[in-house]
């Protein structure tokens, strides 16, 4: 009779799954913890002081830098039949004009 291995494959697999489950649980705890403890005061006061209206995430063109402030013409500004050509434009909806 062959001796039974010390660690059965099922034990290893279930342990690996448990570790992954634990890490998953940690992401939830981390999200809850960090969203409560992160201090946004400095950044919010910068927004208040300068009256900022947009995130500096897409700085390649002015209508992507300030999508809330741009008008509908800006993406097609180069010439009357111009196509909007900045890469961000394909991922960003056109600015809305009230």
């Amino acid at each position: 009779m062959t001796p039974r291995p010390l660690l059965r494959p099922s034990c290893s697999a279930l342990s690996a799954l448990m570790i992954l489950l634990l890490l998953f649980g940690l992401t939830l705890i981390d999200a809850a913890w960090r969203s409560r403890t992160v201090d946004q005061t400095a950044r919010r006061s910068l927004v208040r002081e300068l009256g900022l209206s947009d995130l500096a995430l897409f700085t390649e063109a002015r209508y992507t830098r300030h999508p809330t402030q741009a008008d509908r013409h800006t993406p097609f500004q180069d010439h009357p039949a111009a196509l909007e050509h900045f890469p961000t434009g394909s991922l960003l909806p056109l600015p809305l004009l009230r």
Binding site: S10, D30, R34, R43, L55, A56, T64
Partner: protein
């Protein structure tokens, strides 16, 4: 209880042995599956994080911004507009703002120039964003030369670098004095870029906006709620666009998974037939198949999601930087505050795990209810 657990363990042992017999195929599948979950989770977490960050930070944006439009385009706002705006009932404060863009051919980047009266800067002093300082390799005390609209160089001394924690807002910002701004762009004193209004009762902002368009028909008031809505829409759109792109990957994976799981090979069918012939119940085979699907899909889901979480919230979402960056030279280094929506995680779990479980169970069940003799003969 102990017997039930032992029974399940034996089933898992058997399932793992069966999976390891075709280890190249199954490891390949696990890798692709994990990658798929990782990509979907990354997009989901990143757009959710950005949406939350925008909503949190921009809740302090101006209540109303008034622009002047000429032929549908943003134009400079005359200073004599400020008084009629102040007279509108419900408006508590009106200020003209000066801001604009400067294209720096040296690094082929656009800066956002903004007058910051509260910083009390001298005419030749500027404060710059951390990304700008990094790319131009500037530090406090250094000089930066900008070209005025008349073509003359104008020297500015770096009086400070904005806190890198605020890069998501200030990466490309250059704060300067009103005198410096007007000198650079040769602007007359009686114009502003736009005006910001404070409203006594924020709930009346829309009514105030209506009054502004009546008093100044060529104006465009932008409300804070519209700014917040724009950002919500931007990231929903972005998320949707990337999901459509990833959709083809999902389809390819589904075909692969279906082919792997649904099309049981003759060898696998014979295996089920033998198991039935030696006394396994249909329910045992179903349990074994359930373990096979669950072990593979749960491992892929948990590993993919955890990696995505780490990449987005601790790795600065570098994987998506090229997509977000586009052709931009100045790109903020930021760390998002995690935002996790349990409902979205459950939806992701349902979309990625359940179809695979079904694709594993159904063909296994069909083979298990067939006559062992017929199954073994193929």
């Amino acid at each position: 209880m102990h017997t039930v657990l032992e029974r399940q363990k034996y089933l898992i042992d058997y399932t793992l042995a069966a999976l390891l017999r075709r280890k190249t195929r199954n490891f390949g599948l696990l890798l692709v599956y994990t990658l798929l979950v990782f990509l979907f989770s990354s997009v989901l977490l990143l757009s959710q994080g950005l949406r939350r960050e925008a909503a949190l930070l921009l809740q302090d944006a101006p209540e109303v911004i008034v622009q002047k439009l000429v032929a549908g385009r943003h134009d400079l706002l005359p200073a004599d507009w400020l008084e009629p705006l102040r007279r509108i009932r419900g408006v508590s404060r009106v200020e003209g703002r000066l801001w604009g863009y400067y294209y720096d051919p040296a690094i082929k980047a656009n800066y956002t120039l903004m007058v910051a009266p509260e910083r009390e800067l001298a005419a030749d002093q500027v404060l710059i964003g951390a990304a700008l300082a990094r790319v131009r390799q500037l530090d406090i005390g250094d000089y930066l030369s900008l070209r005025t609209t008349q073509g003359q160089p104008l020297l500015f001394r770096i009086a400070g670098v904005l806190d890198s924690a605020s890069e998501l807002l200030s990466a490309d910002l250059m704060l300067l004095s009103e005198a410096g701004y007007r000198q650079l762009f040769n602007l007359p004193p009686e114009v502003y870029t736009d005006a910001v209004l404070s409203v006594r009762n924020p709930r009346e902002a829309r009514t105030v906006a209506g009054k502004i368009t009546v008093a100044l028909p060529d104006s465009r008031p932008i409300l804070r709620e519209e700014i917040l809505r724009t950002y919500d829409a931007v990231f929903h759109w972005r998320e949707g666009m990337i999901f459509i792109t990833l959709g083809s990957l999902l389809l390819a994976f589904m075909i692969l998974a279906w082919d792997k799981a649904a099309g049981l090979s003759a060898e696998e069918k014979r295996e089920i037939g033998i198991l039935k012939a030696i006394g396994w119940e249909t329910s045992d085979i179903l349990r074994m198949k359930l373990w096979e699907g669950a072990l593979l899909s749960l491992t892929a889901f948990l590993a993919g999601y955890t990696l995505a979480y780490w990449q987005v919230f601790y790795g600065g979402a570098r994987l998506f930087a090229p997509v977000l960056k586009g052709w931009a030279v100045l790109y903020p280094e930021f760390q998002l505050t995690p935002a996790v929506d349990l409902l979205q995680i459950l939806a992701l779990l349902a979309v990625t795990v359940l179809p695979y479980l079904a694709a594993t169970l159904i063909p296994g069940w069909r083979a298990a209810i067939s006559d062992p003799d017929a199954v073994m003969r193929g």
